[in-house]
């Protein structure tokens, strides 16, 4: 963090100078501030390696005497006696020591992701994608990866309470039955049920059954970051709520109108990231490389992959979209492009028009319905409908515009029309509802308030009844993905806290309260398979066709089917068939006027880590550096460098943001590429009742966000003079050296595919080492990471944390540079600070051939293995830290204190039993998931064969939604990784150091439109040197 105001003009001048850095991590790095130099030159930043925490004399003496007393005896600890506790009746399929994998699904924002969950003797420990699931094909996102930690969260509630008193389940049932009978006379007029977006066909049917009996009762679905605008836009264009589902594998040219479709926090990001990556891989035919235009305010993951990114206020995207539409010739649309974007509009329109049927326009969830409608019209005009975009029924059983429904609920509550309110799920309306509705106050006017959720959150606090809910890994349910595919959600363990699933809670309002979740889900599917096909595509548009396979009826066949569904993790044939929808006549007549552009704008976003706040108590997610800003443990007001200059603010200065009469003090973070005169604040922080991890972290953006402008609106900002310490890892582990990331554009790539090699600082001949060469007779492991397809989404980082028992260290330790992540994703910029190109570079251990770490360890705690790994031996490590001092990539992590929680029982259950849980004073680092290699080697040897290519999949590789990471045996020339290493784009970082890393990178290529100006790509640095020379200037 810079202590002084940065001189942006000097930074700009430095970047324009040919000798300036081509790729940079932060403005501080370009300015070469003293703080940045600290990060660069030191192994760990100041304070990381020193014990500077204030220690009193008394504490000091205590510590010293304790360490003296322990110094002599630590080597003599007698191993504690341990128990073996076998089963009484061992389940047939369970083999102790062998994990089992169960297929299930996790829903977020009304969209399911198909998962395989690893279970060790009944403990789910790791989430993997389900490779068979038709929608997501094995990809997962960071939320799914981190969800296993929420399961074991010690702050989950464990008792049914009424006004804080523990009650039995019967008591709750009686209360609900009482409310129900009181409501019977008024046909349920005083009853309301609030849920999250329900994509479970069974739960929807259950609620609809209740509504059928009590027709005046109401069901409100509520997501704080609702997809209302998308729904309303579809209705505007087509007259019905259809879900546009995109096929990026067929799209040559993509225009994103503020749509962050690659991001995990947006619906179907996993699927889209994979599909998009398939056109950016440059494997065989470089002409298949797609082109992406992004118009957006806040630099996003998608914007980072753009070939042309046009920064503009979120409110200007409307005018921009209409200008493109007008240029394309969409009837009834006219409009002038925002100033300065005219050239882009013309070029984009031309490019789109040249790719009829293979282009795609995607509108963002935050954009008003009109932009969605205009995007639909453009896709229609371009003949993309049915090609790159298909229209499907919505994944939620009953599509609605949630904002309006919630508004009505608040009005009803205030008018005293609601007597009983049941709130289910993590939507947390008291905390998340628009500030101007004062939901909490209105709620107090309801006589009977019941809440069911994982945590005793802000909403639970305002209710009389709280029922602990089941985590999705503890319950029976079903869930629909965005393409319609239904998965049966099956539990991996009994509810740990005696929780009740939503099915069971809702059943208390029916006549059959005793049914378990299992009964309810089975009954639904038994009834609906009997009634056959139509069910699988319930309620919604008429144009939906029946699934291919008609369902059988008898109980035996049902049982067979049911088992198949559970095994496969999805119901075959349940995907929606595309419906043909046509633009409604006169759709453009109903279009609102172009969005007004305020002088200064505030943009609200879902957070990349805590989503809408529901994951606030998840330490893995809180500690995750956000993809673009690399901020952790906080949200901030993101501003562009130009805006920061005008407001005279630097990172960490507090801004008073005034929006719609409400104010909020938010610390500033300068985000290169952010639109001018706009700030972005992520929601989900500032929770007061999140739990031990999430309470009091960040600022509560919901207090600022109102109902009139849920996504963006006018705001005023003023510097308060106060400051706040933000922690960002953007300069942590900065590496000295040139051309760490390498890129070029498609034209230059075609002319010279081996461009990355010419960017080598200097060329070294192959055998240049004094050490004897390692010989690998068996396997020789290696990894290749494609910078072209990596979106920086962080799924790999969480997967690594989950697989390798990596602890959470907290904000203070993080700020001192003591983070423990084995895998980090470095973000680099290139070009103009007001609109830079962004590159992401995942950094696991490079597993060097001539490893600098191995040579300096005095106790041989890090040694070379016969398969090329740099083994890290915890039980030998004495913590000298020489190895990390000597690591040019700074990928080694040291346990400065005891970070791992050795006390909390529930967290112990999450640990991977195949990986050592490290203590303090130990160095650790990426092992290439050696536990997975060993397991595969043993399996292969037991079957008298070699390990097959693709059999060892590292945790990061398995999690990557865009398949950017490839791991395998370099000794096998047919392996995927060996082929990638032979790719001309493949390069080693810092090759001039001759450490010969096993992790290499495939250089990035962008595909800018030749008709448009873009950041000039600077030529290789090698030109400056004699290529054959081994003389070093250092």
């Amino acid at each position: 963090m810079s202590a002084e105001q940065l001189d942006l003009n000097a930074i700009r001048a430095k970047l324009q100078d040919a000798s300036g850095p081509q790729y940079w991590r932060s403005l501080e790095a370009v300015a070469e501030t003293p703080e940045f130099k600290e990060f660069l030159h030191r192994e760990f930043p100041a304070n990381a390696s020193e014990f500077n925490d204030p220690v009193g004399r008394r504490n000091f003496l205590k510590l010293m005497s304790a360490s003296l007393a322990l110094a002599g005896v630590t080597g003599c600890t007698v191993q504690p006696e341990e128990l073996i506790v076998p089963y009484v009746r061992q389940p047939e399929e369970l083999v102790p020591g062998k994990p089992l994998f169960y297929a299930t699904a996790m829903s977020l924002g009304g969209v399911a992701t198909g998962l395989l969950v690893e279970s060790h003797e009944g403990r789910p420990t790791k989430i993997e994608g389900n490779p068979d699931h038709p929608a997501t094909r094995g990809g997962t996102d960071l939320f799914a990866q981190a969800s296993v930690l929420t399961l074991y969260d010690p702050d989950r509630t464990s008792a049914i309470t009424e006004l804080g008193e523990i009650r039995p389940w019967n008591g709750f049932v009686a209360a609900m039955r009482g409310a129900l009978s009181a409501q019977a006379a008024s046909r349920g007029a005083g009853l309301r049920i609030v849920t999250e977006t329900v994509n479970s066909p069974t739960l929807a049917a259950q609620i609809q059954q209740i509504l059928a009996a009590l027709p005046d009762a109401k069901w409100i679905q509520w997501e704080p970051t609702t997809r209302d605008h998308l729904r309303a836009g579809a209705r505007l264009a087509f007259g019905s709520y259809v879900e546009p589902v995109y096929d990026f594998t067929k799209a040559d040219v993509v225009l994103s109108l503020d749509a962050d479709f690659l991001a995990a926090e947006n619906a179907f990001g996993v699927k889209y990231a994979r599909a998009f990556a398939s056109r950016r891989r440059l494997d065989a035919n470089p002409d298949r490389f797609s082109r992406l235009y992004v118009a957006e305010a806040t630099p996003s993951v998608t914007g980072g992959r753009a070939d042309h990114r046009v920064p503009m206020k979120a409110s200007q995207v409307d005018a921009f979209a209409r200008a493109v539409a007008a240029a394309l010739g969409v009837t009834g649309i006219a409009g002038a492009a925002p100033a300065g974007t005219e050239a882009f509009v013309a070029a984009i329109a031309k490019d789109l028009a040249a790719h009829r049927g293979t282009s795609l326009v995607v509108a963002g969830e935050g954009q008003p319905p009109a932009v969605h409608a205009v995007a639909h019209a453009m896709n229609d005009l371009l003949g993309n409908a049915g090609q790159t975009v298909t229209y499907l029924p919505t994944a939620e059983a009953v599509a609605s515009e949630q904002h309006a429904a919630m508004r009505q609920l608040v009005v009803d509550m205030n008018a005293g029309r609601v007597q009983a309110l049941l709130m289910i799920g993590e939507a947390n309306p008291v905390f998340t509802a628009p500030a101007d509705w004062k939901f909490g106050d209105a709620l107090k006017k309801v006589a009977l308030r019941a809440h069911s959720g994982l945590f005793y959150d802000e909403t639970a606090e305002q209710c009389q009844w709280h029922v602990p809910s089941t985590h999705y890994l503890e319950m029976w349910s079903d869930a629909r993905s965005l393409d319609g595919t239904v998965s049966i959600v099956q539990p991996l363990l009994q509810p740990m806290n005696g929780g009740r699933s939503p099915h069971e809670v809702v059943a208390t309002l029916s006549d059959r309260t005793e049914r378990t979740g299992y009964d309810v889900v089975r009954e639904y599917w038994m009834a609906h398979t009997a009634a056959s096909a139509a069910v699988l595509t319930p309620a919604a548009p008429a144009a939906v066709t029946a699934p291919a396979e008609p369902m059988a009826t008898s109980a035996v066949t049902f049982e067979k089917q049911w088992r198949r569904w559970l095994h496969d993790g999805y119901i075959d044939g349940s995907a929606f068939a595309a419906s043909t929808v046509a633009l409604a006549a006169g759709w453009n007549a109903g279009l609102a006027g172009v969005t007004a552009v305020p002088a200064f704008e505030v943009v609200f976003k879902r957070d990349a880590s805590v989503y809408d706040g529901r994951f606030a108590n998840n330490g893995w997610l809180q500690e995750l550096p956000k993809p673009v800003t690399k901020l952790t443990w906080d949200n901030a007001a993101l501003v562009g460098p130009g805006t920061a200059e005008r407001l005279a603010v630097k990172n960490g200065d507090l801004l008073k943001v005034t929006h719609d009469g409400r104010t909020l003090d938010v610390p500033v973070w300068i985000d290169p590429g952010h639109a001018l005169d706009a700030i972005t604040i992520a929601v989900g922080y500032g929770r007061v009742r999140a739990g031990r991890v999430g309470s009091g972290v960040g600022v509560n953006t919901y207090a600022l966000r109102g109902s009139t402008a849920p996504w963006f609106g006018a705001a005023e900002v003023a510097k308060t003079g106060g400051t706040y310490e933000l922690v960002s890892t953007q300069d942590h582990w900065s590496i000295e050296g040139r051309n760490l990331v390498r890129s070029t554009n498609l034209e230059k790539y075609k002319a010279n595919p081996a461009f990355a090699h010419e960017m080598e600082h200097m060329k070294l001949s192959d055998g240049l080492t004094l050490y004897p060469k390692w010989e690998y007779s068996g396997y020789s492991w290696g990894m290749a990471i494609d910078l072209n397809t990596c979106t920086g989404c962080n799924a790999c980082v969480v997967a690594c944390q989950s697989e390798n028992n990596i602890p959470v260290v907290g904000k203070d330790q993080f700020g001192n540079g003591r983070e423990m992540h084995w895998l980090r994703v470095d973000r680099y910029y290139s070009g103009d600070i007001d609109n830079p190109d962004t590159y992401y570079q995942p950094m696991p251990c490079q597993q060097c051939e001539n490893a600098p770490c191995e040579m300096v360890c005095p106790v041989a705690a890090t040694v070379h293995s016969a398969e090329g790994l740099n083994d890290m031996v915890y039980n030998r490590c004495v913590g000298t830290r020489y190895c990390s001092n000597n690591c040019p990539w700074k990928v080694r992590r040291f346990n400065f204190t005891l970070y791992q929680d050795w006390e909390t029982p529930s967290l112990k259950m999450q640990r991977n039993p195949d990986v050592t849980v490290r203590s303090r004073g130990i160095m650790e680092k990426c092992t290439y998931c050696v536990q997975r290699i060993n397991s595969a080697r043993i399996d292969a040897k037991r079957e008298d064969r070699d390990i097959r290519d693709g059999e060892v999949v590292t945790a990061c590789e398995a999690a990557c939604p865009s398949q950017a990471i490839t791991f395998g045996n370099l000794n096998d020339p047919t392996s995927r990784v060996a082929k990638l290493k032979a790719n001309p784009r493949n390069y080693s970082m810092l090759a001039e150091l001759n450490t010969r890393p096993r992790t290499t990178y495939l250089a990035a290529v962008r595909n800018p439109n030749p008709a448009l100006p873009s950041n000039p790509t600077v030529g290789g640095h090698a030109e400056a040197h004699d290529a054959a020379s081994t003389e070093s200037e250092h």
């Binding site: 083999v95 039980n875 050592t916 043993i938 008298d944």
Partner: protein, 216 residues
């Protein structure tokens, strides 16, 4: 002024050098012995188990196959400790009223697992896999000793890394034919010097001594 030290102190100072050296040398000799002693390795120590289960009786006497109880030994890292159900398979018929077996019956009746003290306990940073050792021809007896002669279970070997590495470096000295893995009191039909290398080649046994093979 008289001298501070009398002349006799010379002998004391000389003796002290010898004594100090002697102490250091004897510590140097004693510590490695202590470190390898049963006291430290807990070898040959009996533990108070909930049931006085006799391998001597079940293996040596009745001749039950190891894998009847340790079912996972060929497929998993863990050999598996039998569930109570396995005991009850026989003991619902024989010795079904023996007071010694009451804890077993109680476990089965109340659905409460038996809790055994672990006899062979490797440190938590060591990852041993039974299945691959069995597959490569390492006999049960090689590590666990003559369990058919143990009325109560005890740890026969030190289970120290030195002991593991000894075999990992020289597998030919210890390997036996796969058919003899479960045999107690195995004697090689031909001399081990001849048979060992032959089996090492046949079973493709690698001398795996990389740290990450066992530590990760």
């Amino acid at each position: 002024m008289s001298q501070i030290f009398p002349k006799s102190s010379n002998i004391w100072s000389k003796a002290s050098i010898v004594v100090v050296l002697g102490v250091v040398a004897s510590l140097g000799a004693a510590l490695p012995v202590l470190q390898r002693s049963d006291f430290v390795t807990t070898a040959n120590k009996y533990k108070d188990q909930p049931v006085q289960f006799s391998h001597q009786h079940h293996v040596g006497g009745i001749g039950i196959d190891c894998r009847y109880c340790h079912t996972a030994v060929e497929v998993s890292s863990s050999a598996g400790i039998p569930p109570t159900k396995t005991c009850i398979n026989c003991h619902s018929q024989i010795w079904s009223t023996s007071p010694y077996l009451e804890p077993v019956r109680a476990s089965f009746r109340d659905d409460k697992p038996l809790k055994w003290w672990r006899v062979h306990d490797l440190p938590d940073f060591v990852y041993f896999n039974h299945s691959i050792h069995v597959k490569k021809g390492v006999g049960c007896e090689t590590c666990h000793g003559r369990v058919d002669k143990m009325p109560l279970m005890r740890q026969q070997n030190s289970l120290q890394m030195e002991w593991c590495i000894n075999c990992h470096r020289n597998p030919e000295k210890y390997v036996r034919p796969r058919s003899e893995v479960l045999t107690m009191g195995y004697q090689p039909a031909v001399a081990q010097e001849e048979l060992g290398p032959q089996l090492v080649t046949e079973y493709k046994i690698q001398s795996l001594t990389n740290c990450s093979v066992c530590h990760r």
